[in-house]
Subunit: 569 residues, 2 copies
């Protein structure tokens, strides 16, 4: 089945990540399996298997020779209409995408995949596509969970695959900057920097399979955003190929030289152009890392502690406060039981905590990156903020298991889906004064609007990505799938939560992005004049609306495209 | 002479700030006066006096009744064509502006001043002005030093004065945000926040007479940018009135909900619209502040120490590293000599330093804001970075004199100008690996290109506003004025320095902005496609090019304006 994944990205087309890595629910998470089977009173089975369904694909519009006429300057090996490639680069990793594949739904794949190697080649592809009014999707990691790659209408679509644009272009270790081609994967980028003693510091959960360009195009956040910021805080300059040519602007550490246009491309999700190169801040690797772990008697107490800590200038690189339910779920993920003395002392600890009011605790994990002695002190000061809210500091070992598996959870999600479990994540961000209210409103909206809980629905949440002014809420939902109505079931839940989020003043996304799945709510959050301004920018850069048509902006009209292509062939 | 300044802003029209405050060169800076007189071998006199030259003004285009027809919804007291108002709001505080006034050059003032009180009123004014194609300048503090308010052609111009838009609109002390009308002055804004225990943390040298809206429109930096960031790092959301309506976008601590359009207005210098409201981050007032002061044997050593310190995660709120010449000049500013034991111990210290290699030292002043114990430690760690580069830590008292007078220097500049001394500041920003080379290139460019040094020119510099990736260079120049050729002399020097800065990879401005004076070089730093994109944004928001015409973008054509106004009157 070699053709089902590319070696360079080690990704399979039909589920998360490396096909050689996967979990088995009962073997790998026995406690969770027992918990779910008891709660739902049903046997869980791996009911979905590797699809071998290239037949699911729509047929390609034109022959390879016809595509070569459209892109005469590309080498033959830079153009593919092979079914394996078309399906490999057709979809992201949203829950809907998973269901589309596993329920044998028709997949609208791009008609052709092209593999540029430098900025001018991307510009050339867009120029040709613009001339022929061919829709463009940009595939780099393909890890989005928002339907960002989905082709809405059956437009004639060319997928620009960025995997060959993976070079370090320039590094300046004095100024601590590095310029990369945007198609470089997280691990390759970190390896290049780590070998010189530096790090970018961007570690989203998709890290192993996502790329610099994807992070920028979607306004990504990494787990260590507390120290290094979100991707928009790390970028110093961009080169962007658009249907109207290459846009680049001077790059300075900061400036007062007019308007920053490159900001427009961050979060533009492939609708204005393709980010081809990015100049990024880098940081010396920390000397060490230190965990601070605590539990609180209530979520409110934990959130207050986090807020007061960051507003006092203490900045953990990672912070993650789980609610009662998530704290319980985390305990179900560990495989081994402690033994001997460790087991006894753990039991005594649990008993002590129960008796002192931590019967249903909320777990806080924070990581501090130690670069100097002041950082060491900061990690100690953080413990005082835990105590001040009646929190209890736990040994830091409690966090290492989570951290060790921090990139493994998407594999677990696949395993659950294959066991016919609905599992999805919903995230938002709001100001601190709205954070706990929004948390309750999201949970209540599900209770009040569906029979979700009656059917065994589980919702849990953590606060992460804390800022002085607010923080993000990250919800995970689980429920038994409604067989034959899997997508409808999910759409219903997605609607309820998204409606609540935007009604109650949260952003439709803090770091996943908009894509297809959030577009409806994104548009509700735009004021008419902002929409008009964005349309003018779109019209300037992408006059024929070929760039990821239907995302952020209105979709193109199908007929116009087909018509314009005919004369060539 | 009450009419020469407004009480609310305590500003005089013809020179910096409060007319009741001013310096006398020989009384207030006797050491400096002696130094300059000896260097230049001439007597310095206050040769310029308060101009009483309202006759300098161009005449106003239309009568007050005609203006009331253009803005029928405004109250009579919101419209003025009084000469006192027209001249008060005609110019900024650039060196050229000072010379224009003092050499009795014709001043092109706005034809009318309007005083809106809320966003909708600003939008109304712009709608009417757009209809009649009247050029708009926005006056808030009027402290720019770039000719940002200068009216290039004799366009018919309406000046929107923001001084009545000075209200706090919303404050959230939990999330630490505050929303203000943009015309609020620095001291009023800080007073409101300080009374609640908070600060914005933005202290540009213009602080006493500049406004929130001005800071945002020019991409301002405050002296404490090391802790609080530049103004673009502090803003969470904007409301902007444009000729095409009010643009506003959702505001979140961070998000992944598409493109941030409000970024476009930061640094737009009144060319796209008028920023009327801004939601800002605020911070708890620090518990204390602590100075760390050191001297280095070379500028290179000092710059290395600063760079290594900030790249290790130590963030002073203020940092300012003076070169040899600036260090000498600072010592000429103090009035009193030490006496008794203090005098003796100072002399011993000086002798010791001379004998240990600090004959011509470079002074570093850093301020740490202490919010927690880790900050206290950080200030101690900073001293290690000084030592590591053979620096010598001085008692912190050395910095307090500078800090006490930090808002007084613009008054001193006026005094020097009145003594027929050319004095101006030139600032830029670049990456660390280019910083010291750029510093030498700027100094060399003057040596090689003019007889500036032969005629006694003095140039000195400090590095401030340090970032992990780079820092700003702030040059001060002094020379005897070339009588009757004052403006030409300055233009020549400005050209030499600006050409060098952009040729050698510096930004044309780090925090002063572009205005009229930097426009030529700003345009050279824009790529053609970026310019085209900016033009499209301008065309969408300001289709008739009425907003500060001639700044950042091409100027309007004079005739078109006059023509379109005639039919009304």
């Amino acid at each position: 089945m070699q053709h089902h994944y590319t070696n360079d990205s080690k990704q399979t087309w039909w589920k998360w990540g490396n096909p050689e890595k996967s979990f088995h629910l009962k073997n790998d998470f026995p406690k969770l399996a027992v918990f779910l089977e008891e709660k739902w009173n049903k046997k869980l089975n791996e009911d979905f298997y590797l699809p071998d369904r290239i037949t699911q694909l729509n047929s390609s519009s034109y022959s390879i020779d016809e595509w070569k006429q459209i892109f005469p300057n590309l080498r033959p090996d830079q153009i593919s209409i092979a079914s394996e490639d078309r399906i490999q680069y057709a979809l992201g990793k949203s829950y809907r995408n998973s269901l589309q594949i596993l329920t044998n739904e028709k997949i609208i794949a791009p008609d052709v995949i092209v593999f540029p190697e430098h900025t001018n080649e991307v510009a050339y592809i867009l120029e040709q596509a613009n001339h022929h009014k061919i829709n463009i999707t940009t595939y780099s990691g393909g890890t989005n969970v928002t339907g960002a790659l989905d082709i809405e209408n059956p437009l004639i679509t060319c997928c620009v695959n960025m995997k060959k644009m993976n070079q370090l272009l320039h590094i300046d270790t004095v100024s601590q900057t590095a310029t990369f081609q945007a198609g470089i994967y997280g691990p390759a980028l970190e390896e290049i920097l780590n070998n010189r003693g530096y790090t970018l510091g961007h570690f989203p959960q998709s890290f192993e399979f996502s790329t610099l360009g994807g992070w920028l195009a979607t306004r990504s956040a990494g787990q260590e955003s507390g120290l290094y910021g979100k991707i928009e805080d790390m970028v110093l300059g961009l080169k962007v190929a658009t249907p109207n040519g290459i846009v680049e602007q001077f790059s300075f550490p900061r400036h007062a030289s007019g308007i920053d246009v490159f900001q427009l491309f961050i979060g533009s999700e492939g609708t204005l152009g393709i980010i081809t190169e990015a100049k990024m801040k880098t940081h010396p690797l920390p000397k060490s890392k230190k965990w601070v772990v605590g539990i609180f008697k209530s979520y409110e107490d934990g959130a207050d502690a986090l807020r007061q800590m960051i507003q006092s200038g203490i900045h953990p690189s990672i912070s993650r406060l789980s609610d009662v339910q998530e704290t319980k779920m985390l305990s179900l993920l560990s495989k081994e039981e402690s033994k001997g003395f460790a087991k006894i002392s753990k039991k005594i600890m649990k008993l002590y905590l129960k008796n002192t009011g931590y019967r249903e605790p909320c777990l806080l994990m924070m990581q501090f990156s130690i670069k100097n002695y002041a950082d060491e002190i900061a990690s100690r000061v953080a413990k005082e903020f835990i105590k001040a809210k009646n929190g209890f500091n736990l040994p830091s070992a409690s966090a290492s298991n989570w951290h060790k598996n921090r990139f493994a959870l998407p594999y677990m999600r696949e395993t659950l889906i294959q066991n016919r479990i609905l599992i999805d994540m919903f995230e938002t961000v709001t100001y601190w004064n709205n954070l706990i209210p929004l948390y309750h409103q999201v949970k209540d909206s599900l209770k009040n609007n569906t029979d979700y809980f009656d059917k065994g629905g589980i919702i849990f949440c953590h606060i992460s990505h804390i800022y002085e002014t607010g923080a993000s809420l990250y919800f995970t939902l689980m429920a038994p799938q409604q067989k034959d109505d899997e997508i409808l079931q999910w759409e219903n839940i997605k609607s309820i939560i998204s409606n609540t989020i935007i009604k109650q003043g949260g952003a439709i996304s803090h770091h996943h992005g908009v894509g297809k799945d959030h577009r409806k709510w994104y548009l509700q959050q735009l004021s008419p004049k902002t929409k008009k301004l964005l349309n003018a920018i779109k019209a300037e850069l992408d006059p024929n609306n070929i760039m990821n048509s239907g995302k952020l902006f209105e979709p193109s009209i199908k007929d116009a495209q087909l018509h314009s292509l005919y004369p060539i062939v």
